[in-house]
């Protein structure tokens, strides 16, 4: 019998007693006796529909068919199976990371578990290759408040790394970041600071001072200082985070502008897009802080607003291909194309006002009148930004004159 659920894949019921002794099927997520089977791959089992849905959203939708050869392998195909498992490890790692970037800790768990399982299969237990999986699981559990489990996972990861001195700085950086998160969650701010300090150090060594990874480390550290009410340090670190993101997004914008005539060149991985989701969360938090801050640094507010605008432009672009033909059903002329491009720059600033689909797609209206209204609103927002900047320049020149009297 099959359960119909087109959004979360199809399942069919199984009769546990039908399987030979020793070959009972267990749930993919909780290892309890299974009653459902994925109707597509038929090699994945679940105890109930909730777990099936969780797994589908978490990872199974992406790897359903890839599991078939791995779970129905013949003994003489070991090398090929190992390669397929490594492919699965790669996919599940990226998916878990993406979910975590977007703050979807529950959804990240299935992918992280799968990664851990197959890493152990391929490389053996307690191997250094399993550390990324431990870290992903730990991060997901910290986000869900399962701090004891997270601490255990991090200890395991730390032990493996201590046994393997020649591991990469990236793993040490991630370990420190997760320990920092754990200590911050338990209120142990001193240890959190120590771990985040190491996180920033290793991120700088591995990725450089202007990397978004380092920016994230600084952001987390700034959060700890905010909890300690050391606002000047928090402000300074947020400033640095904003600068790094602004530089990064400006470079992406340049690439975007160059490739506007060639939409195919603009396609990006979902992983890169998810990373930007993390950036958007950080910049949003910084903007909120700046707006409430007593010092009211208008330059910084303008900078962060600009970065968010560029982010939304770049994110809106993920649906550019499907919308391009809707707006220009015929071959567009240069004038129309330029108008469209200028709208594309301005429209995402007001994207919140446009109703979205469940999967986050942003619909542009095909009516030119609607587009003009949107463009006008966006221009108003940008001119407001510009006014702020002009005000800032004026204040700074006044301050210079006052200081010269010192």
């Amino acid at each position: 019998m099959g359960d119909k659920s087109s959004v979360w894949g199809q399942t069919c019921r199984i009769i546990p007693l039908a399987f030979p002794k020793g070959q009972e099927k267990v749930c993919e997520l909780c290892q309890s006796p299974a009653r459902l089977q994925c109707a597509t791959c038929r090699v994945t089992f679940y105890c109930h529909a909730e777990h099936q849905r969780t797994d589908w959203v978490g990872i199974h939708e992406r790897i359903c068919k890839l599991l078939v050869p791995v779970r129905t392998c013949m003994p003489n195909n070991t090398k090929e199976i190992q390669l397929k498992k490594m492919e699965l490890i790669k996919i599940s790692t990226l998916v878990a990371q993406s979910k975590l970037f977007q703050g979807k800790h529950q959804e990240a768990l299935p992918a992280a578990h799968l990664c851990s399982r197959y890493t152990e299969d391929v490389h053996g237990p307690q191997s250094v290759q399993q550390v990324p999986a431990f870290l992903l699981l730990a991060e997901a559990n910290i986000g869900l408040g399962n701090l004891a489990l997270a601490a255990e996972l991090l200890s395991q990861a730390e032990w493996v790394l201590l046994k393997t001195p020649e591991h990469s700085n990236s793993l040490t950086q991630q370990l420190n970041r997760n320990f920092g998160r754990l200590h911050a969650a338990t209120g142990n701010l001193e240890d959190a600071r120590f771990n985040f300090a190491n996180d920033i150090f290793f991120a700088t060594v591995e990725f450089g001072m202007n990397s978004t990874v380092t920016a994230c480390s600084l952001f987390l550290m700034a959060d700890v200082f905010a909890k300690m009410k050391k606002m000047s340090i928090t402000r300074s670190m947020y400033q640095e985070v904003a600068r790094i993101w602004c530089d990064h997004l400006t470079k992406l914008l340049e690439i975007y502008k160059k490739n506007i005539p060639n939409p195919a060149m603009l396609s990006e991985s979902f992983h890169d897009k998810s990373k930007r989701a993390e950036g958007e969360r950080m910049l949003g938090a910084i903007l909120e802080f700046l707006q409430k801050d007593v010092s009211k640094d208008l330059t910084q507010i303008a900078l962060v607003t600009y970065s968010l605008a560029v982010l939304r432009l770049l994110d809106g672009d993920s649906h550019k291909e499907e919308n391009y033909d809707n707006i220009f059903p015929l071959e567009p002329n240069i004038h129309q194309q330029q108008e469209f491009n200028s709208h594309l720059v301005l429209c995402p600033l007001v994207s919140k006002r446009i109703p979205t689909h469940g999967n986050g797609a942003i619909f542009f209206s095909t009516d030119i009148h609607d587009l003009q209204i949107i463009a006008t609103e966006a221009r108003e927002m940008l001119s407001h930004c510009l006014t702020n900047l002009q005000h800032v320049v004026h204040i700074q020149s006044q301050q210079k004159k006052i200081k010269s009297g010192d």
Binding site: D191, R193, F194, F196, A197, N198, I200, F201, T204, M209, L218, M221, F225, K230, S232, I233, S236, M237, E240, K400, K403, S404, D406
Partner: protein
């Protein structure tokens, strides 16, 4: 058994429970010292100090790689603990001062760092901190920043980066004019004025057209007059005089030369006076008056000798030698060339030394020819050839007649 039981009973219990080291303490012992330093800075929220230290360490590594195949490279910055500690201390103080809004103190820390790195192999660090002090956004008008500007202006002048030197000097003087500087910075203004004057003079020398050169020199004169530096004003007048000389405006040139002399005498500037006489020699040369040329060059040489200006003395002596030679006064030419040779040896001026040797040689040869020609001999090439052979044979004979050792 009983003895061991007794010993257990009598053993003193520990007064305090032993404290296990914390994770941080363990890491501090096991980790790299640079890592510990960086982590300490970051724990205190001093991320800008960390960034700057990190980038300096990276720059040091890059420089070391580049110098790997040249002469023995100095140890890496991260291997020099005392320098690292000083860097850490001052960078932290600079950032803390900046955060408290005390930009003058922040610049002061950077200035101290610049002054700390005084050895030649640390010149790049020195320049880095002088720049970061002078170019600081908020503290640019503070006394330490102006001190750093003064160093940079003088440094660029010394290294012939005249445009940069001029820019820095002009910027500082402009800030002073706009009233942006405090009282502590006022004492540095003469240094900037001197750099500006010198830079303008050099730019005038290199200028393509006369008008630009004249404008620059007039500005030099004004600046020198403003700071009441007689010596500098004299040099500016001298340069202007040379400019007029090159345009054949002799009267204007003479006036300026006379004014320059007065300034040099007033400032008791021996170097300036020596240069004045050399310039006067050129002036006389343009009028075709060789006797005056010799007179002025002799005066210049005398001043250079008394004030121990070896390089200038060698120059003047060579010029004088050439004048004597052209005039046919080979005895004087030879004397002066020998003097030039001596001075060049002392001062290590190899090129000049070789030139002086040549002049000694050719002056001596001319003297010899003169001697024999005046004795009634023909000066035809064949006769000279026979003379040379005779002199050679005479010299060999003298050698052979020396008693064997």
């Amino acid at each position: 058994m009983k003895r061991s039981q007794n010993s257990f009973r009598t053993r003193r219990a520990p007064e305090e429970p032993t404290r296990l080291p914390t994770k941080q303490e363990v890491t501090a012992l096991t980790a790299d010292p640079v890592q510990n330093m960086c982590v300490e800075m970051l724990q205190r929220g001093l991320h800008r100090s960390f960034s700057e230290l990190f980038s300096l360490l990276q720059a040091a590594r890059t420089r070391r790689k580049a110098a790997a195949f040249t002469t023995a490279a100095a140890p890496l910055l991260e291997e020099q603990r005392d320098k690292l500690e000083t860097l850490k201390l001052r960078l932290i103080r600079a950032e803390e001062a900046g955060r408290a809004g005390s930009w003058s103190d922040s610049c002061q820390q950077r200035l101290l760092l610049a002054q700390y790195f005084s050895s030649p192999e640390d010149l790049w660090l020195r320049l880095h901190f002088y720049h970061s002090c002078a170019d600081s956004e908020q503290g640019a008008a503070s006394a330490p920043a102006m001190e750093a500007q003064a160093f940079l202006a003088e440094f660029y002048l010394q290294t012939d980066d005249v445009e940069k030197a001029k820019q820095r000097a002009e910027l500082s003087l402009k800030r002073e004019d706009e009233g942006m500087l405090g009282l502590n910075s006022q004492t540095l203004m003469p240094r900037f004025s001197r750099v500006l004057t010198e830079a303008n003079m050099r730019l005038a020398e290199a200028a393509d057209d006369h008008d630009t050169a004249l404008k620059l020199l007039q500005e030099s004169c004004r600046t020198a007059r403003k700071i009441k530096d007689e010596s500098l004003e004299g040099r500016a007048n001298l340069h202007m005089g040379r400019l007029y000389l090159s345009k054949d405006e002799h009267d204007s040139a003479k006036q300026l030369f006379d004014s320059a002399k007065e300034h040099f005498l007033s400032a008791q500037d021996a170097g300036g006076l020596a240069e004045f006489y050399r310039t006067m020699a050129k002036f006389s040369e343009s009028k075709g008056n060789t006797d005056e040329v010799i007179e002025f060059l002799e005066k210049s040489a005398e001043i250079c000798e008394s004030s121990h200006q070896h390089s200038e003395l060698a120059d003047v002596s060579m010029t004088l030698c050439e004048v004597y030679y052209r005039k046919g006064r080979y005895d004087r030419a030879r004397e002066v060339a020998l003097k030039c040779f001596e001075v060049s040896c002392k001062a290590g001026l190899t090129a000049m030394l070789l030139k002086a040797q040549t002049m000694v040689g050719i002056s001596s040869a001319q003297l010899l020819i003169e001697k024999h020609v005046s004795g009634g001999m023909s000066s035809s090439p064949a006769a000279l050839d026979r003379l040379l052979k005779r002199e050679k044979t005479k010299a060999c004979g003298e050698l052979n007649s020396e008693p064997a050792e």
